[in-house]
Amino acid sequence: MLFNIGFLILVTALVLAGFGVVLGFAGGQQRNQRLVQSSFHAVYAVAGLVAIAAVMLWYGLLTDQFQLTYVWNHSERALPSFYKFSALWGGQAGSLLFWTLLLSIYSVIVAAVNRRRHQMLMPYVNAMLLVTSLFFLVLLVFAANPFKQAAFVPADGQGLNPLLQNYWMVIHPVMLYLGYVGLAIPFAFAVGALISKRVGNEWVRTVRRWTLIPWMFLSAGILMGSQWAYMELGWGGYWAWDPVENASFLPWLTGTAFLHSIIIQEQRGVMKVWNVVLIWLTYFLVILGTFTTRSGVLESVHSFALSDVGPLFLGFLILILFGFLWLLFKRLYLLKDEQYIDSYSSREAAFLGNNWLFTSITFATLWGTFFPMFSEILTGERISVAAPFFNKVNGPLFLLLFLLMGIGPLLGWRRTGVQALRQQFTWPLIAGVAMGVVAIFFSTNPWPSVGLAVCAFATATIVQEFVRGVLARRVSNDENVLVAMGSLMRRNGRRYGGYIVHLGMVMIAVAIIGNEFFQQTTNVTLTPGEHVTLGGYDLTYVALETNQEANRTEIGARMIIHDSSGKMVGSILPRRNLYIKTPDMPTSEVGLRMTLLEDVYVVLNGWENGGATATFTVFVNPLTIWMWIGGLVLVLGTLIASWPHPVKRTTNVPAGAAVAAAGD
């Protein structure tokens, strides 16, 4: 009974969302305040209803209501409450409901914050956010009902997928969804700007923060997914260019390009068409990503035909594609550039280069991800496109991108003179070359040396920017170093926060270079007391240890680690978890010792005779921890860049008045 009401609530939300869409568009067109007010109310009401539905499903999960097919499929009595809670996003119907819930929360925040602002844009923004909600509610009501019930009440559930019973797997989807869903907001503003013909800087300035925050969540979500893969899948790596990973990476790429590209529009009044196209592309890729992961279209064309949600997604994607192109075509006459670009050696040109590379990487990744599908449809043969393809195609592009990341900040707006170029590039170039020369001694392969040289160059650029800024503040305001740093970040968080994000990216790049080129590995079978040596570490197998939990047995092999001088540096327990509900699907928990320099990473492959022998794969992964530190730095930088400015901006300098400074 209760859950029948849950379904009815979803149906009501669907009807209200549809009504709200009409209210928003009509209110905006007719400038009818009452209709516009009603569109705000529709946003709140839909959010309230979706929240009630989500709470009901949570209630069903936490109180083991196995008559619900969803609960039966994704939970069990012995599952810890923590995972019962997270099972909401462990399966299809629940995760779609969770998507809708997050979108509703975002929509309410956008509506509440802008209740009295952007009066021309907001009716359309409300309507567009409700269009997305409407689509997901259609999926929930017609194709993936989370409140579907069985005719009888099963005694126990099937259990949550063991791979999801991991701390990172609880938080990773939340972060990813917060990123994904949030990117619907800038798109809604872009559509609002186009329909209301206010295509100037108003929407661009407004969406910067609404893009940065989802972008931060998406970045964190992607990195947490990598962390999960690293800890849980036991192959020594963190990223496999898997279709699902690519699905999250594609909107990240276009979103990052957009964040850079709107800076040129704000500063110089150019790239107006491109910016709306980019944010549309980002939104399109978000829906496409959800579609590909939810419909199984990339697994096989046939599984798509069997999927309930697949055709609906396809229909919505076509609607977004043609609806947007039609709108863009109608408004093209308004999107004229106000200024021109002066020179190739300008920051505008560097930003265009950035967009060119990001778009190229997006295209290559999208193409590689979908190529097996095209190949299957057109030739009948399925081709595997995995890491070797993506590394070969995207590797050099990322190298160029990091090079540009170092060059961009050194160029001034409009034009950079020869003298300024020399002054700006000297130290970063020296740093880059020096690093390259040092690195070449450690590797016969030139690529990691080139990569590290580029990283050093980009880092030196950032450091130089901070040093020059701090020195200038010291001279002009007589501030000490810390105060000067603080005032730079407080007063121009956009720029200096951005540099910190760049620094985080460099750290991640260094970790990738370390892992990709300098990983060492060995595979051994040991008896208790025997040891193996790898990369200066000595690992001794002690014994098997067993631990019984409510829904699983954990079997681990204790190992003691000594360094090359014979000093004991750690004790690890690589494990296998055998879940009662899925005994033939043991999960791996790696044994890990992390340091700033390298990780000792051990996978327990198997054992015989109760631990008389055990087989291990041992990895030494250089610099991996910098990927996670880089992630934290990236989040910190984004927060600084999006932090509200201490003083309300009173003047808007017209585009074109920007100073073209050597170090600007």
Partner: protein, 189 residues
């Protein structure tokens, strides 16, 4: 990598299989594998006894396996794959190594047996050339577009400057840095 997507997908069907590979493909693969291994073994038995693989270490096998991909589960490297079929492929690598085959010969052998799937990238031939060429065309096309776009804009700008010299007031490069910084910071005040 045993990708979680597939594992999740398999979970969606309440199945306990590790990866959701369509059953028919698994069966087909196993039949083919049995035929191939059968044929190879018969041949081997008829000609020479199976070589002793005890001298081949797991590291030697993995060295080769790191360059190969599970033909059943796209995106999983052979050395990390725990499928039975992949275990058999690794045993085959050990046999080949014991026979004295080198990396290239073993790769050629697997290519012949399982097709280009085992390399994890499309072969550079026929229709599959498209996979490689299109990203390059996209990159170059985009590059040309951006290059000429900037050139068009700079020449328009030059024309504007030429016609109205008064507007051509690009700030001098020698301006004081701290002054510029302050100017910029004050724009946000």
């Amino acid at each position: 990598m045993p990708t979680y997507a597939k594992r999740l997908a398999s979970r969606e069907n309440s199945s306990v299989r590790i990866r959701s590979v369509p059953l028919i493909r698994v069966l087909l693969f196993l039949i083919l594998l049995a035929l191939f291994t059968g044929a190879t073994l018969t041949q081997a038995l008829a000609q020479t006894p199976t070589p002793d693989t005890s001298a081949i270490s797991a590291d030697q096998v993995n060295e080769v396996a790191r360059g190969l991909w599970c033909p059943l589960c796209s995106g999983v490297r052979l050395d990390a794959c725990e499928l039975k079929a992949c275990e058999q492929m690794k045993e085959m690598i050990a046999i080949k190594l014991a026979e004295g085959a080198n990396d290239e010969e073993i790769r050629a052998y697997f290519l012949e047996q399982y097709g280009p799937q085992v390399f994890g990238e499309p072969p550079r031939e026929g229709f599959n050339w498209l996979a490689w060429i299109l990203p390059v065309i996209g990159l170059l096309g985009g590059g040309v577009f951006v290059w000429f776009g900037i050139r068009r804009m700079t020449s328009q700008q030059a024309a504007v400057i030429a016609s109205t010299p008064a507007q051509a007031s690009l700030p001098s490069q020698s301006d004081n840095y701290s002054q510029k910084l302050e100017q910029e910071l004050s724009r946000y005040d």
